[in-house]
């Protein structure tokens, strides 16, 4: 593990160096919020961001991604379209790092998704640890995703005047070696790193709070018991089926596939776009049957997929607690409330027994 110290005043210099060599995605301001998008000027980078509207992981899984190029008259001319370009994600929060780790597993699971993997390949991930939660509606403390122990190449730990830069992977070392002039010249870290981390973490413990009444490990079981409960009808009545919660989620990866034909009616692309399981037609089949026609069923599916099915099938939860879905829901539907309601229902049931 290499360690450096980077004064805040030097961030722009570093960025300038990097931008000359790499495509960099990072947090920047948009209106009153932040987006995680390509950075074109050093000043755009806003490491003081709370959260981004769309999560960083979507750089590997962009909307309307071309999958294959085809020719209507000749199947032999079909080609897979993948997009490989070395890039840096700069300033990824731990929840989003955890989301990337999860998506890596999903897309690498055979049959692999070469489109995701190509974009993901050789991406340098520069993490940024959070000292405090980014908003009221996050579940990262309950979920333990407010920190990440892997899934990044470098980690930035904020201090009052700079960042402690921790380099953990070969890609990370490649990065600091590439900019060795910069790192060796400006930066050295002299304190004991483990003491520093201890201090950092005790500060975190003070700032983060639990939102759930029970331990997260009890959640799948509690939710399972809500399957037929009134809870979902209540939520279904509120939900507008707008799909926002899925689109902003760093761990939602459902998609739809459609063909776009060129105006010459010869060439074209098969593309995939993000889809939402809250859309009414999401589970509709050719015979017209809709397997989740009610909003209550679709809401239940979203939550169950994340908190029941994925833990059961993959061994990890499909939610990193980033809070984005809770923030965007104009109908005020919040996972925090749903989870606590589930715990409550479970408790009531147990008491009845």
């Amino acid at each position: 593990m290499e360690l450096y110290f980077l004064p805040k005043s030097k961030i722009n210099l570093l960025m300038e160096e990097i931008l000359g060599e790499f495509t960099v995605f990072g947090p920047k301001q948009k209106d009153i919020q932040f987006v995680f998008e390509e950075i074109s000027h050093p000043e755009e980078l806003r490491l003081d961001y709370n959260t981004s509207i769309l999560p960083p992981v979507k750089t590997f899984f962009p909307n309307n991604e071309k999958l294959i190029a085809f020719n209507l008259n000749n199947i032999d001319k079909t080609e897979i379209v993948t997009n490989e370009n070395r890039k840096i994600l700069f300033g990824v929060h731990p929840c989003d790092i955890n989301a990337i780790k999860m998506m890596d597993e999903i897309f690498a699971k055979p049959p692999q998704d070469e489109h995701y993997l190509a974009r993901r390949k050789e991406t340098i991930i520069i993490g940024l640890n959070c000292k405090k939660p980014c908003g009221e509606k996050t579940l990262c403390y309950d979920k333990g995703t407010y920190k990440a122990d892997s899934g990044f190449d470098l980690m930035f730990w904020e201090t009052h005047d700079g960042y402690v830069v921790q380099v953990v992977s070969n890609l990370g070392k490649y990065f600091t070696a590439k900019f060795s002039y910069f790192f060796n010249f400006f930066t050295e870290f002299t304190e004991n790193f483990y003491d520093f981390v201890d201090n950092f973490q005790s500060e975190q413990e003070q700032n983060f709070t639990k939102k759930l009444t029970h331990n997260i490990f009890e959640l799948p079981e509690a939710l399972r018991e809500t399957y037929d409960s009134e809870l979902w009808h209540e939520i279904g009545a509120k939900c507008l089926s707008c799909g926002s919660c899925n689109i902003v989620c760093p761990t939602c990866y459902c998609f739809d596939v459609h063909d776009v034909v060129d105006l010459d009616l010869e060439g074209g692309h098969r593309c995939r776009n993000w889809d939402s399981c809250q859309n009414i037609g999401f589970a509709c089949v050719g015979s017209g049957e809709n397997f989740r026609e009610k909003s209550s069923q679709r809401n239940r599916h979203r939550v169950f997929k994340k908190e029941v099915y994925l833990p059961q099938n993959q061994g990890f939860s499909g939610c990193v607690g980033c809070g984005r879905c809770n923030n965007v829901c104009i109908a005020g539907i919040s996972l925090i409330e749903i989870y606590n309601r589930a715990f409550e229902l479970q408790k009531n049931q147990e008491e009845q027994k």
């Binding site: 199947i75 079909t78 998609f255 999401f282 089949v285």
Partner: protein, 277 residues
């Protein structure tokens, strides 16, 4: 004998050339296909391929030929964008396929058993693959009963083969239509009405069900009434699919991706899945 191959290269289809088309009903056509370099597709009964025509999209279609058959056949019902286009194609035209996908039927469980197959409507297409497998290896199985139900007489698929089955000693074949016409002399009523003709030996019988979503609940009930044990009932389910690769999420029923873990399920696996049946 030609090479057996699979075409599992992500979203990339290969060319399948149409060598024969049979209009089996007003809505269904059977396509016989030739693969590049005369390769043969390696597949199990009840597996499916993703079929595509560029510009018209892609959809899962079951393979209706048997795994040992020389020819690859698909039976396609005209319902929407892609299938309507497929119906307009001629012999000599081609479209894209990739696959096979899905788990296919675990044929080993059938060995030495009595078989009770129940097909409703288009469900006969995927089941036909298994039927042909059974005929090919007929000596390995006990009694073979096949029940088939269609909405109307003219909706029945594979009528030529039905005639053979009707006259064959190798299979006890019963069929029914929901609505009859003047010429029809057979049974009239829902598929469940055929169960009065069968008396399976429950412990020795494997039940297989393929049909429209509404059918499963009722047929399973009949099978259970005949004492067929839960682990001996199998079925193939249909869901919306966009990738066939276990990613797009459309085919998910509760925690299961039908395209990867299905479409064939043991009743045991799905009886507690609330979204399954």
């Amino acid at each position: 004998m030609n090479d057996f191959v699979k075409f599992e290269m992500g979203f990339l289809p290969v060319e399948a050339k149409i060598t024969k088309i049979i209009q089996t009903t007003a809505y269904e056509k059977i396509f016989t296909l030739k693969l590049p370099e005369n390769k043969r597709l390696k597949y199990l009964p009840c597996q499916f391929v993703m079929v595509s025509v560029f510009g018209f999209g892609e959809a899962p279609i079951s393979i209706c030929s048997g795994p040992d058959d020389q020819e690859l056949e698909l039976c396609v019902r005209r319902v929407g964008t892609l299938t309507t286009k497929l119906h307009k194609l001629q012999v000599g035209d081609s479209f894209g396929i990739r696959g096979p996908y899905g788990n296919g039927f675990p044929t080993e469980v059938l060995q030495g058993k009595d078989l009770l197959f129940v097909a409703g409507g288009l469900g006969l297409a995927p089941l036909r693959s298994l039927i042909r497998y059974v005929f090919k290896h007929r000596e390995n199985f006990g009694r073979f009963t096949l029940l088939y139900g269609a909405k109307k007489t003219q909706d029945r698929l594979f009528v030529d083969e039905i005639e053979l089955w009707e006259n064959s000693n190798e299979v006890d074949f019963y069929q029914t239509v929901d609505v009859s016409d003047e010429k029809w002399e057979g049974n009239v009523g829902l598929i469940t009405s055929l169960f009065k003709f069968v008396e399976p030996k429950p412990e020795k019988t494997i039940g297989v069900i393929v049909g429209p979503p509404v059918m499963y609940k009722f047929v399973i009930r009949e099978m259970l009434k005949k004492q067929i044990p839960v682990p001996q009932i199998f079925m193939s389910l249909e869901r919306r699919m966009r990738c066939g690769l276990g990613k797009c999420g459309h085919c998910q029923m509760n925690g299961i991706y039908v395209c990867q873990e299905g479409p064939v399920f043991n009743y045991n696996e799905v009886k507690d899945l609330k979204e399954a049946l």
